[in-house]
């Protein structure tokens, strides 16, 4: 999380890390400069500045080495099976991205070619989603930092359009609402909160982890600005039935729009299940977002949003920037940002082509199916879909009838000791007592690594099976008190602890990383 950080008090800073520590009497390195190596300098024997900018400079080699060493405590992205975010790109594209590091994407005048490359990506992605391209059509889209920004923009557009319609009809605009699944990513809650739109949830049940189209459409009223349908929920990776919602809206003649949150599914479904109708082929779908940095195969920092036509993106939200006689329209929440990720996306699109994406996504689906079947054999209950009917991820839980002493969280922790990050979650509300584990199959998760994971899961299960109830309990206590990221928890400002306004605060749902 780009989390809020609290600034520690002076007293907290000066406290020694180990209580009762006496002063060491070793002569400090005298020289400001170093001749032996970085570790022979005075900086190696003193703490890195943490709370206040140091008065004096530090040689760049030392600054580099010290930060590098510090960062070695971060996890190994390859073993992080919790995240959808891309961790592998080819050397050539890394070079390209490094070369464009100092380019500011928003500066169209200076970097027209980068801007043009964005437009090419928008066009390709729009067409991939079957955006209307016949004469007279004018689908529009833009790049964003990620799906969060894309979703905020889409909500804003839906809200404004609804307001305009209501005002034109002389009706009240004071209480807009939005209909969505309770399995939504936290940014939907944020968007609703920050733009003052009431959230209306379609709750999941014990055996249905996606929205029910009937129930969804029933929630729609005259104040509904739109419906969010998720292509690939973060918990189980299932595709919600956009077509059914669309058809019901048409059948009942309800005037509202659909936004598809295809953060993860947008780059999977078109290649693995091309016949699934979820995109602009459905007439009620007016906007779609996707994350380039998930299955779009780019490093973090790029998302996309496309609208069916400018009609769904009210003019008053678009700001014009005029550069050298060319009008640039922009609709973003951010302004300056790096151009590297957009360039990275274009590289992947032309480098791989449809064929390349299809091959990669099919491989992932195959690996996910293999993992899914193997876990089933190990006695787990599989909650995710197979055969491309959902995202290439495996969601599974322990079989409750097996009466194990330990739960999914214990297994997750056990795996962590082997280096794997396989997160455990509490499911979306109304199915909240349901716990689950999730493995995201990313591009770099090959069959052989999958086998290693399976071997380790088997091992961990054995270890846990061998423990009795007491042992497990003490262990849980121990983990809670000492291990669970106590290191980071320090920064969490107490003021905001235990908020009660989000789905998590209200129901105990935990948000999946994405």
């Amino acid at each position: 999380m780009v989390h809020l950080a609290q600034i520690p008090t002076d007293e907290a800073i000066s406290r020694p890390l180990v209580e009762g520590l006496e002063k060491l009497e070793i002569a400090p390195a005298q020289d400001n400069w170093f001749t032996t190596s970085v570790y022979g300098s005075k900086f190696a024997s003193s703490a890195l500045p943490k709370h206040e900018m140091p008065e004096e400079e530090m040689p760049k080699e030392i600054a580099y080495r010290m930060i590098k060493d510090d960062l070695s405590l971060d996890g190994n992205p390859m073993l992080n099976l919790a995240s959808f975010v891309t961790t592998y790109m080819e050397k050539e594209v890394e070079d390209l991205m490094t070369e464009s590091l100092s380019k500011n994407f928003i500066d169209y005048e200076e970097y027209p070619q980068s801007a043009d490359i964005q437009n090419r990506c928008v066009s390709m992605i729009g067409r991939l989603f079957n955006a209307p391209t016949e004469a007279g059509a004018a689908a529009v889209g833009t790049s964003t930092i990620g799906s969060s920004e894309a979703i905020m923009l889409a909500v804003l557009a839906m809200k404004k359009r609804w307001q305009n319609q209501r005002r034109a009809a002389g009706k009240d605009v004071s209480s807009p609402n939005i209909v969505m699944s309770s399995a939504v990513q936290v940014c939907w809650e944020k968007a609703a909160r920050y733009f003052e739109v009431e959230e209306k949830y379609v709750y999941c049940t014990k055996d249905r982890y996606v929205i029910d189209p009937e129930e969804t459409v029933k929630l729609v009223d005259e104040n509904t600005i739109g419906i969010c349908v998720i292509l690939g929920t973060t918990y189980t990776g299932e595709y919600e039935d956009a077509k059914a919602v669309n058809d019901l809206l048409i059948k009942n003649n309800i005037d509202t729009v659909i936004h598809i949150d295809a953060a993860s599914g947008g780059f999977v479904a078109p290649f693995v299940v091309p016949n699934l109708e979820w995109d602009f082929r459905l007439e009620k779908v007016v906007s779609i977002n996707t994350s380039g940095h998930k299955y779009g195969l780019v490093y973090p920092g790029v998302g996309w949003v496309v609208w069916r036509s400018p009609e769904y993106l009210p003019q008053e939200l678009v700001f014009n920037i005029n550069y050298l006689g060319a009008d640039q329209s922009s609709f973003t929440l951010n302004f300056s940002k790096g151009a590297a990720q957009v360039i990275g996306q274009y590289y992947q699109l032309i480098r791989l082509g449809k064929h390349g994406y299809r091959v990669i996504m099919s491989n992932l689906t195959r690996t996910a199916d293999y993992l899914s079947d193997s876990l089933h054999q190990l006695g787990f209950v599989i909650m995710s879909q197979k055969g491309g009917a959902g995202l290439p991820l495996v969601a599974f839980r322990l079989d409750q009838s097996a009466n194990k002493y330990y739960d999914e969280f214990a297994l997750a922790h056990q795996l962590r000791e082997r280096g794997w990050i396989v997160p455990a979650y509490t499911m979306a509300p109304h199915a909240a007592d349901l716990k689950m584990l999730r493995v995201v199959v990313r591009e770099d998760f090959s069959k052989s690594r999958c086998d290693q994971l399976l071997a380790d899961i088997k091992l961990c299960l054995q270890v846990l099976d061998d423990m009795d109830r007491e042992q497990i309990k003490t262990r849980e206590q121990y983990v809670k008190q000492h291990i669970s990221n106590s290191h980071k928890a320090r920064h969490g400002p107490h003021h905001y602890k235990n908020e009660k306004h989000s789905l998590q605060g209200k129901t105990g749902k935990t948000h999946a990383v994405c």
Binding site: A63, Y64, I343, R351, A412, N485, Q504
Partner: protein, 570 residues
């Protein structure tokens, strides 16, 4: 007027490419996936590079690299872009850190605890740099840039205002926010997207083209959620008078009981003032300043994509807006508009903090200011130009006097401001050579490679809009129009060395003299085709996808941009 015919290059190219294809002796069939040279691929001659549709088949990685690499040659050279504040220089060691950490996601605290720790250290250092008192429990977050930070700051002020009004049993229908007419587009965006009425205080020459503090009280009322005060106007680099505004609002509160907070937009200035103007009061030393934002990627010397926001105390960030996210054991609080995003910029920021230290930052920013002073003095000494920015004038002096140049090295002896030179043709010059247009100067300099945009209009009545529902007619008089002042602006960044500066001074003078000596008729001819070329050039092409919208009329046009108002790049 002679007849002329329009030739479409695009059509011609397509026609001839088609002919090629018909020959069917293409050397680059499907076997070309692994080839020796990146120029032996089907895009080298046979097919146009895919631009609109995802190609059915890909190309090998070397070719894909080369295609895009060559394509990007058409982008400008970042260092010659004198229009932008965004930092373009990264040290090698820092670059290495970036490459090593390019995969890291700042949103994934579970996976990257060390990155999170570095994030916290940066916040802590910034807060102490801006004199926040740790006992007040200041709090902050990294953002993608100042835009996001400004939205968050505004959102917090709006929510606090709403909560206060609701507690008093009053309505919350018409929030408004105050800012100078010189505000950057992000400030206006906040107002529009979060449905707050933007009240723009006029700017004038007397108020240094910044918010006019003396007129502030005409705009505030009980519905004012706060005032955005800009530390370092994008147009002229002047610091807005934060202390004075704070004092005025103190008196207002004493009179009416209405307390109005200040958010300081220190996008550029919050990394300059602490080092160069430590005695200027603008930060958390003033009680009324509740939050400050800055751009790490401007004078924080980080590459594009990093901003910061810090609140004086957690009490000024309403709980209502903060989301708590539980991970394996850890809990994080989040208040951002973006989620997954790169983490390497935060590492760069920390690298700069510990590598440069206070002393290093001070020297770099003071060098930039000194270079900006040299440029300003050279320009004014020519007699051709008048500077609108004032960092080269002695503190308190606002008029140019020939032959009198301050010699001090200490930036505090001059008018405080950003290392920005904003200038225009002098009145004498305009009288003498009425045929020379400022825009031509900008165009001619562009031919030499510099990007120095002209046409930043400094006008008071730029961007008035009112939420249609909330206000049909403004209930206070429209600010008087200052009259358009067209300026040229150079942003002096750390990478602008003395050598480049000398070259620039020389080129500006040469270009101006060329223009003086050219025939007015030639001038008109020069301006015209160039502009046409530019319209058809990549910039115009770049407009195609979103540009579609602008043809349908845009709010900014309706809003009174009758002169084609140019917003500053940041």
């Amino acid at each position: 007027m002679s007849l002329s015919r329009h030739i479409s290059a695009d059509d011609l190219i397509r026609k001839h490419l088609e002919r090629h294809k018909n020959h069917k002796f293409s050397a680059t069939g499907s076997r070309s996936m692994h080839v020796a040279s990146p120029y032996i691929n089907r895009y080298a001659a046979w097919e146009p590079i895919p631009k609109y549709k995802l190609p059915a088949k890909g190309v090998d990685s070397k070719s894909a690299y080369q295609i895009i690499h060559d394509d990007l040659d058409l982008d400008g050279v970042p260092n010659l872009n004198l229009a932008s504040f965004v930092s373009t220089f990264v040290e090698d060691e820092c670059m290495q850190l970036i490459t090593e950490n390019v995969t890291k996601n700042l949103a994934d605290s579970d996976e990257y605890p060390a990155l999170m720790d570095i994030h916290a250290r940066c916040i802590s250092m910034l807060a102490s740099m801006w004199h926040a008192s740790p006992t007040d429990k200041p709090i902050g977050s990294a953002t993608t840039g100042s835009s996001e930070a400004i939205h968050l700051g505004g959102l917090a002020m709006k929510r606090r205002w709403q909560e206060k009004r609701m507690a008093e049993g009053k309505d919350t229908l018409r929030p408004n926010i105050i800012m100078g007419a010189n505000a950057q587009v992000a400030l206006e965006k906040f107002a529009r997207y979060f449905e707050v009425e933007a009240r723009l205080v006029p700017v004038s020459e007397e108020s240094n083209h910044c918010i006019d503090a003396s007129k502030l009280l005409d705009y505030v009322d009980e519905n004012t959620i706060g005032v955005y005060v800009i530390l370092g106007s994008t147009y002229t680099g002047h610091y807005e008078p934060v202390a004075e505004i704070s004092w005025i609002l103190d008196k207002y509160e004493a009179r009416t009981g209405i307390s109005i907070p200040i958010h300081v937009d220190g996008a550029s200035g919050a990394f300059v003032a602490p080092f160069c103007h430590p005695n200027t009061g603008w930060d958390f030393r003033l009680d009324r300043v509740h939050s400050i934002n800055t751009s790490g990627h401007k004078y924080g010397l980080v590459s594009a994509g990093l901003g910061w926001i810090i609140w004086r105390s957690e009490e000024f960030l309403p709980k209502h807006l903060v989301f708590e996210l539980k991970y394996l054991g850890g809990v994080e609080q989040s208040f951002t508009l973006n989620f997954s995003r790169p983490g390497n910029q935060v590492i760069q920021q920390y690298y700069n903090f510990i590598h440069l230290g206070h002393e290093g930052y001070r020297r770099i920013q003071c060098n930039s200011l000194a270079n900006a002073r040299v440029l300003s003095n050279v320009l004014e000494s020519t007699g051709y130009f008048t500077c609108v920015s004032e960092i080269h004038r002695k503190k308190g002096v606002h008029k140019h006097t020939f032959g009198k140049i301050e010699e001090s090295d200490n930036p505090e002896t001059y008018n405080p401001g950003l290392p920005v030179v904003a200038w225009r043709l002098s009145d004498d010059f305009k009288k003498k050579y009425p045929h020379v247009k400022q825009a031509s100067l900008s165009t001619m300099l562009r031919v030499k490679g510099y990007i120095i945009p002209s046409k930043f209009f400094l006008s008071a009545n730029l961007f008035m809009f009112y939420d249609a529902e909330k206000l049909t007619t403004p209930d206070y008089p429209l600010p008087p129009n200052e009259g358009d002042v067209e300026i040229l602006r150079v942003v002096v960044r750390e990478s602008m060395s003395c050598d480049l500066l000398e070259q620039l001074c020389e080129d500006i003078i040469t270009v101006t003299e060329t223009l003086i000596n050219s025939d007015p008729v030639d001038m008109a001819a020069l301006a015209h085709p160039l502009q046409r070329i530019q319209e058809q050039a990549p910039v115009a092409r770049a407009a195609t996808s979103l540009g579609e919208l602008s043809h349908r009329g845009s709010p900014s046009k309706e809003g009174g941009h009758k002169h084609g108002h140019y917003k500053g790049v940041c």
